[in-house]
Symmetry: C2
Subunit: 324 residues, 2 copies
């Protein structure tokens, strides 16, 4: 799509972490690299729709990272810059690249962070609550006027420490993202099918279970959808895969502004496409040089990867999620 | 399909183990149950095409198990019945059901087994070499006149003990089945994409990587295909999943006798469907009461599970594998 088309879509607000990442994988390492869930998701979303970010940075946060976000035409006026050091994460991945090992975390300015939604963001129709303290996610929702679609993510840490608050976030969300291990833990079952059912029973119409190299599953009232993963021969750095997935997903929905079952499925595939690009290089490097042409080519590949026979009747195009 | 249609297809020969299984899972257990790779694959194939089996049983093998195979109209004249006790396997599965734990194996009559292909089987067009000693798989191939399609399976044990012979089997096969862990081990890589490439470089035109609850991948010259798994809320007993998959796959190919990319993909989905039924109950219990109607309904469900957008151009219907 052209820049013009992109900017025709609804806005996407992402709230979460902004980080300086130090990552080592079997294929290399980076230091003080741009990272954080809000960043990965906003950058991925920005390929489809106008993106806005709310997060916190320390005074040490490198100007070059802000410049990159501005070049992507992301509205960063919601980034609070406060005295102190930025949030930093040190992580590494083993040979199989499936599980990040956190070596060290410095919360720094994240310790006292409370999201403040700028007035100009308060009508944002599409909202992604990336993985942060569920109390902060609830603070965000309390400041928004009438979001059309709320997508939330979380992680095992909050599931263990603040389960009730995670449930409260789910109650107020339309789409819940979890990875399969988190969903199993949250729901106390080895079956992701049962887990997705339980997650949806708390409120979200849609549960998306991320399975890394095995793709993703989306559960709705109607049915369930299995999106393949893109068959990469080599993954350089899995950091941000889940957030670029979510960003691509919500960005595509904001761009099309159509909440049908079929369009939600396309959004899952666009999300998978963005995630598959993201892991081809460290930090945001691959998304930095990614083109719209590459995205549509990969989307076409996803179609060919999962095709085996025509479906005659699918859905009526009925709007699936309608809030308020 | 009707019985008549089924019997119109080409014959499928399966060679492998026939066993008395003692299996315990979190949902129950069975003793002296019908099992073995040749059995699961032949029964699955028999839903689509006339099936023949070559394997060995001891004199203690219960008549009721033979009766079941005969009821399914499987040609069991290739089962050698020899003095001694039948092959027995004791296994259990943990809560997550992903990995069988072998508690005990008694090879018994399997110790001295050498497959003898009856004269009436020697022109079998479709052949499945289930997981057995690769030397025995090669003995089978040496006795066949001109198979149209040879599908082979193996396991980590043979990959470790007789790698060269496994390679020799691959050289003579058209389609290689492995699960993802075996493929990674066999190829010394964490990437299933690279593993499939290496497997195909030994000879097979097609590599099928089984991923259990994550579905299956098929790699060909043309492209790669990702088949979803069926979203079961409950798995009672995973034993035989891989073999019923392979049996459904080769059975559908034999029935249709069309080796195009598109038809190979359909075969993977029929295989997945058979496997998804098989794990719903212990031993062969679910396949015993399975109907053709249930199979086609589930196939339709697989279509809906993986559909997100029409593919305009797929393939030309060109015959993909042509031997001899």
């Amino acid at each position: 799509m052209t820049e013009e088309e992109r900017n025709g879509g609804c806005g996407v607000l992402t709230v979460g972490s902004l980080a300086l990442d130090n990552v080592e994988t079997p294929l290399g390492k980076v230091e003080d690299a741009l990272g954080g869930a809000a960043v990965y998701s906003a950058v991925a979303a920005s390929f489809f729709a106008p993106a806005m970010m709310v997060c916190v940075a320390g005074e040490d946060f490198p100007e070059r990272h802000f410049s990159f976000l501005k070049e992507r035409q992301i509205d960063i006026s919601g980034i609070q810059i406060v005295p102190g050091k930025s949030f930093r994460w040190w992580g590494s991945y083993d040979y199989d690249l499936n599980q990040a090992r956190t070596l060290r975390t410095e919360l720094n300015v994240f310790n006292d962070f409370h999201p403040v939604i700028p007035e100009s963001y308060k009508d944002a129709p599409y909202v992604f609550l990336a993985n942060i303290d569920p109390d902060l996610q609830l603070e965000v929702l309390a400041q928004l006027r009438a979001p059309k679609l709320v997508v939330c993510d979380t992680m095992n840490f909050w599931i263990e420490k603040k389960r009730d608050r995670v449930v409260e976030v789910l109650r107020k969300s339309d789409v819940a993202f979890m990875n399969d291990a988190e969903a199993r833990e949250f729901c106390g079952t080895s079956s992701v099918v049962k887990a997705a059912e339980l997650i949806r029973s708390y409120g979200p119409d849609v549960a998306v279970i991320k399975k890394g190299e095995h793709g993703a599953l989306m559960f709705t009232d109607h049915t369930h959808f299995a999106a393949p993963a893109y068959p990469l021969a080599e993954v350089k750095d899995p950091t941000g895969a889940g957030d670029s997935f979510a960003g691509g997903f919500i960005g595509y929905l904001a761009h099309t502004d159509e909440l049908t079952e079929r369009n939600l499925r396309k959004a899952v595939v666009y999300g998978s496409a963005l995630a598959s690009f993201n892991v081809e290089d460290f930090s945001l490097e691959r998304l930095r040089r990614l083109t719209h042409r590459e995205i549509s080519d990969r989307y076409e590949e996803f179609k060919r990867i999962s095709f085996f026979e025509e479906v005659e009747i699918f859905d009526s195009g009925q709007i699936y999620i309608r809030r308020g």
